[in-house]
C-alpha cells in the first residue's frame, strides 16, 4: 500500500537517514530536516546551492566522477562523502544514490566513526607508502587498496587480477614469486620478500611484500597481505654496501690495513685482507702482540718498540711508528703506522685504532734517488751543456764543474762554499729575462728561452736556456734546473732559412699581384667584346653571321671561365686552409722577432728597445703567419728610420679582449692621405707593378691581411717627418 504524501513527510522527518534530491550537476532540489546540520545556511537559503560547495575538497572529484556514471541503465550507486558541519566537525555519510527522471535521490547514513578510522588508515598507508591486498583462492578474487595502486603508479579504477598484479615484476622473477603464493595456499605458512618492480609509469622501485593466510577449517580461505615501497631504504643499503666496498678497495690499493689495538688486553685486531697479506692466522679475530713482534725485522724491533712506548706516553692522541714487516713470502717490506689513541680518565692509552701503510716502494725510490744523485753529477759534469740547480728562492744548490769554473772566473765566488743567488753571478745579458722565466718555472712549467750574447772571443753566440721545475713527492716544486746549451750553429742555419723564406714570400707576393693585374687587364677588353657581340646578336642580322656570333659567345664564355678559375686560385685562400693554431706566450714571440732584427738595427746604429708584458700574455695563433706579419712591420720601421729609435712593446692591460703590440719608430712617417693606400696593394697596383714592388707597401698589406686572418687588427698613427706607430691587436687566449 503506497504512502500518502503526509505519511511520507512524517517518515522523511522521523528517519535517521539523510535524504537529499539533487540534479546531476549537484544543484540541491529538496532535503529533509536532518540534512540542515550539513549546511551552514538557513533552511530557506539552501535550495539552488550546489552540494559540491559543502563536501570536503578530496571528495569533490569523487562526487563528480560517480554522479557522471549514473544513467537510466546504470541507476544505482553507493559512495561516501564527507561534509564540514556548522560547528566545524566532519560528518562522513554513506549514500545510496538512485537516478530517476533526471534527478538523483540520495539516502545517507552517518558513518563518521568508521570513517575516522578509515581515514587514519589511509593516511598511515600514504605516509608509510604501504598498501593492503587480499586474495581469495576459491574464486580467484584479487583486491588491492589504493595504496597498492599508488605504489604501482596505476589508476585505482583498474580491475585487478592475480596475473595483472604479477605483471609488475620483471619477467625473470614472475614465476618464482607466483610460486610463493601457491606454496602459501598449500602449506599455510606466511611469507615475505623484497623484490624489484617496474611501475605502470616504467619507474623502477623496490617493494617488500608480506602475506598471511587466513584459515577456516584447516583450509586457506583467503590471503591477507601488505606491500610497502622500500626503494629509499634499498638504495640506502646499496650505498652503504658500496661505501664499504670502496673503503676496502682503497685500503687494498695502497696495500694497507686497519687495526684496532686493545692495550690492556694486549690484543690487536686486523682487517681480514691485511691478515691474508701478512700471512697471519685468519681463524682468530685478534693477534697477540707477541706474534706480531716476531714479524718485525730484527734490526728495527728495538727502535720500533722504543718509539711505540714513547708514543703511548705522548701528549695528544696521535701515534706514529715505522718498521719493516715480514710478509707471507718471508720478505720484509717497509710500513708506516698512523694511529689515533683513546685515553681513560687517568690519561693512559687504552685503545688505539689506526692504519698500517705499505711504504716499501717509496723507501726504495728514496734510496734510488740518493744513489742516483752521484751518477747524475757524473753525467752532468761530462755533458755539453751548463747546468745549475736552484732552490725556489733562486739560490744555487748544485752546479756542474764547467759552470762552477765560469762563476768562479767571472764573479770570484765559489757557490759550493758560499751561499749565493744565481742572478748575482750570471752573465749580464741573462738577467733581463731570468726573473720572469724563473717565476714561470716555479708555476710548474718547463720553459725554454733563447738568449744572444757576445762570448769572450767577441763572437756572437746563441744559447738556449731550459728551466725545468723539479717536484718532490707531494708534487710541490722544490728546485729548478737551469741548463744552457750552445745553439749558435742551429741559429745561423735558421736565419738562413728565414731569409730564404722571406725571399720566397716576396716572390709569391709578386706572383699574386701579377695575377691580379693580369685579371684586370683581361677583363676590361673582354667587357667590350662580350657586350658588342651581345648587342649585335640581339639585332636583326643575317643567319650565317648570327651563327658566327654564337661561336664568339661560346669562346668568350670559355675565356671568362678560365679567368674566374685563375682568380680564385689566390694565395690567401691557401694560407687560410693551412693554418696551424697554437697557444703561445706573446712575450716569447715578440722577443724572438726583436732578436731577429737587433742586428739590422745595430748596423744602422738605431736604438732598438723591447718592453715585455709581465703577465706573459697568451694568444692562440699560427706562429709563422704572425711572425711574418710582425717582422714585416718591424723591418719597415727600421728601414724608414735613419736615426733615432725603434721600440717594440707589449701591453695586455689596455683591453679585456686584445693584447696590444706596439711598433714605434721615429722615421719618415706616412702622410694621412696615404694611410689607406699603404695597406691596399690592388689600388696601388693600378699605378704600375714596378713602383709598388720597390716599396714595402706590399709587405704591409700582407701584414694586415695576415693579422686579419688571425682575427686581429692593425692600427696606424703617423706624422710626416716625426714617426709612425703601428699597433697590432691580437685576441687574448684565456
Amino acid at each position: 500500500m503506497p504512502f500518502t504524501a503526509e505519511q511520507f513527510e512524517i517518515l522523511a522527518e522521523k528517519t535517521l537517514h539523510f535524504l537529499l534530491i539533487f540534479k546531476k550537476n549537484g544543484k540541491i532540489v529538496a532535503f529533509n530536516n536532518r540534512c540542515e546540520v550539513l549546511f551552514p545556511f538557513k533552511n530557506n537559503q539552501i535550495k539552488g546551492k550546489y552540494i559540491t560547495d559543502f563536501i570536503i575538497d578530496d571528495d569533490v572529484q569523487v562526487f563528480k566522477d560517480s554522479v557522471a556514471t549514473l544513467n537510466i541503465q546504470n541507476s544505482i550507486l553507493s559512495e561516501s562523502f564527507s561534509f564540514v558541519t556548522k560547528d566545524n566537525t566532519v560528518l562522513a555519510l554513506k549514500f545510496n544514490l538512485t537516478y530517476h527522471n533526471d534527478l538523483i535521490y540520495a539516502a545517507g547514513i552517518d558513518t563518521t566513526e568508521e570513517y575516522k578510522e578509515h581515514r587514519a588508515l589511509i593516511t598511515l598507508s600514504k605516509l608509510t607508502k604501504t598498501g593492503a591486498w587480499y586474495f581469495n583462492p576459491k574464486n580467484k578474487e584479487m583486491y588491492w587498496s589504493r595504496g597498492c595502486y599508488r605504489i604501482k603508479d596505476l589508476d585505482p579504477n583498474t580491475p585487478m587480477t592475480r596475473k595483472r598484479g604479477a605483471s609488475f615484476y620483471p619477467v625473470e622473477s614472475r614465476a618464482r614469486l607466483e610460486s610463493y603464493l601457491d606454496d602459501l595456499i598449500e602449506n599455510k605458512e606466511p611469507y615475505e620478500y623484497t623484490e624489484k618492480i617496474i611501475t605502470a609509469k616504467g619507474k623502477e622501485k623496490w617493494v617488500k611484500v608480506v602475506a598471511q593466510p587466513v584459515i577456516y577449517k584447516n583450509e586457506v580461505v583467503y590471503v591477507n597481505g601488505t606491500i610497502a615501497d622500500v626503494t629509499d631504504r634499498h638504495n640506502y643499503i646499496e650505498k652503504l654496501k658500496y661505501n664499504a666496498e670502496t673503503k676496502h678497495l682503497a685500503l687494498k690499493g695502497i696495500q694497507s690495513g686497519l687495526f684496532d689495538h686493545l692495550i690492556k688486553k694486549n690484543e690487536v685486531f686486523y682487517s681480514a685482507e691485511f691478515k691474508k697479506m701478512l700471512g697471519l692466522p685468519t681463524d682468530k679475530d685478534y693477534v697477540p702482540e707477541e706474534i706480531f713482534r716476531k714479524m718485525i725485522h730484527p734490526d728495527d724491533l728495538n727502535k720500533a718498540l722504543q718509539r711505540h712506548h714513547e708514543n703511548l706516553k705522548k701528549e695528544g692522541n696521535h701515534y706514529y711508528n715505522y718498521y719493516r714487516l715480514k710478509n707471507k713470502k718471508g720478505k720484509y717490506r717497509h710500513y708506516e703506522v698512523y694511529g689515533f689513541r683513546r685515553k681513560n680518565e687517568k690519561g693512559e692509552t687504552t685503545r688505539m685504532i689506526g692504519n698500517l701503510i705499505d711504504v716499501h716502494q717509496k723507501k726504495m725510490n728514496e734510496q734510488t734517488i740518493i744513489e742516483g744523485k752521484s751518477r747524475l753529477q757524473a753525467i752532468v759534469n761530462n755533458g755539453f751543456s751548463y747546468n745549475v740547480l736552484l732552490n725556489t728562492e733562486g739560490k744555487i744548490l748544485m752546479a756542474d764543474k764547467k759552470s762552477l769554473k765560469l762563476i768562479k772566473r767571472d764573479s770570484n765566488v765559489d757557490p759550493t762554499q758560499t751561499e749565493c743567488h744565481f742572478i748575482d753571478v750570471m752573465p749580464i745579458n741573462f738577467k733581463n729575462s731570468f726573473r720572469h722565466t724563473f717565476n714561470e718555472a716555479l708555476k710548474g712549467n718547463a720553459v725554454k728561452k733563447e738568449i744572444e750574447r757576445i762570448n769572450m772571443q767577441g763572437d756572437l753566440q746563441w744559447l738556449e736556456t731550459k728551466y725545468t721545475p723539479i717536484f718532490n713527492d707531494d708534487y710541490k716544486i722544490n728546485s729548478v734546473l737551469v741548463s744552457f746549451h750552445d745553439i749558435s750553429d742551429r741559429k745561423l742555419a735558421e736565419q738562413a732559412v728565414t731569409e730564404a723564406h722571406i725571399k720566397e714570400q716576396e716572390l709569391s707576393n709578386l706572383k699574386s699581384n701579377i695575377l691580379s693585374n693580369f685579371s684586370h687587364e683581361i677583363r676590361t677588353p673582354l667587357n667590350g667584346i662580350m657586350t658588342i657581340s651581345n648587342i649585335i646578336l640581339k639585332d636583326n642580322c643575317p643567319k650565317d653571321k648570327k651563327q658566327l656570333l654564337t661561336f664568339l659567345e661560346e669562346s668568350k664564355d670559355r675565356l671568362l671561365e678560365t679567368m674566374n678559375k685563375l682568380s680564385n686560385f689566390s694565395e690567401i685562400d691557401i694560407i687560410k686552409n693551412n693554418l696551424n693554431y697554437e697557444e703561445v706566450d706573446l712575450n716569447y714571440i715578440v722577443e724572438t722577432s726583436f732578436r731577429e732584427h737587433k742586428y739590422m738595427a745595430d748596423t744602422k746604429k738605431i736604438q732598438f728597445t723591447l718592453e715585455l708584458d709581465e703577465s706573459s700574455p697568451q694568444a692562440k695563433l699560427d706562429i709563422n703567419l704572425f711572425r711574418l706579419a710582425l717582422n714585416n712591420i718591424i723591418h719597415n720601421a727600421i728601414k724608414y728610420t735613419k736615426d733615432g729609435k725603434v721600440s717594440l712593446s707589449i701591453n695586455s692591460k689596455v683591453s679585456k679582449k686584445n693584447n696590444y703590440i706596439y711598433v714605434k719608430d721615429t722615421g719618415i712617417g706616412i702622410d694621412k692621405k696615404d694611410f689607406d693606400k699603404i695597406f691596399e696593394p690592388l689600388i696601388q697596383g693600378s699605378e704600375g707593378i714596378s713602383r709598388e714592388y720597390e716599396g714595402t707597401g706590399i709587405g704591409l698589406s700582407l701584414s694586415k691581411r695576415y693579422i686579419e686572418i688571425l682575427e686581429g687588427k692593425i692600427k696606424l698613427k703617423s706624422k710626416l717627418g716625426k714617426g709612425t706607430v703601428f699597433t697590432i691587436l691580437i685576441p687574448k687566449y684565456i
Partner: protein
C-alpha cells in the same frame, strides 16, 4: 632615367651606353673623376656607375665615391662599382668602402638591368 657612367675605357663606355639606352635610359659618360664631379652638379641623376681603375695618376673610383658621399645632392642616389677587379674578396672590399652594389666586368647585363629596374620600376621595364 638619368644614369652617369664614370669610365675611362671608351669602348666599355660606348657599349654601356648602347645597352642602357635601349631601355629608355639617358646615359651620361664621364671619362674621369673630375668630369664626373662636374656632371653631378649640373644634372638630375637617378643612378651612378663607377669604374674603379680610371687610369694612371687619376683619381680612382674609390676616392671618387668618397667625394660623392660628401655631396648633399647625391644623398639618395645609388652608386654602383663596375670594375674588372674581380679577385676573391674584391667584391666585399668595394661594398665595405660604401658602394651600393658591385658588378664585375664583363658585365652581366641581365643582372644589371634587373637591378636598375628595381630601383625605378616606373621608368624602366625589362625586355
Amino acid at each position: 632615367m638619368n644614369i652617369l657612367y664614370v669610365e675611362d675605357n671608351k669602348i666599355n663606355a660606348m657599349v654601356m651606353d648602347k645597352m642602357l639606352s635601349k631601355n629608355d635610359s639617358n646615359v651620361i659618360i664621364a671619362e674621369n673623376g673630375s668630369k664626373a664631379l662636374k656632371v653631378v652638379k649640373n644634372k638630375n641623376l637617378d643612378l651612378i656607375l663607377v669604374d674603379i681603375n680610371l687610369g694612371l695618376n687619376q683619381m680612382d673610383g674609390c676616392e671618387l665615391l668618397q667625394r660623392f658621399r660628401k655631396l648633399d645632392i647625391l644623398k639618395n642616389i645609388p652608386v654602383f662599382a663596375v670594375t674588372a677587379y674581380a679577385m676573391p674578396g674584391d667584391k666585399q672590399r668595394f661594398i665595405n668602402i660604401g658602394f651600393d652594389n658591385y658588378f664585375s666586368k664583363p658585365v652581366d647585363f641581365d643582372k644589371l638591368l634587373s637591378v636598375i629596374s628595381s630601383i625605378n620600376p616606373s621608368k624602366i621595364g625589362s625586355n
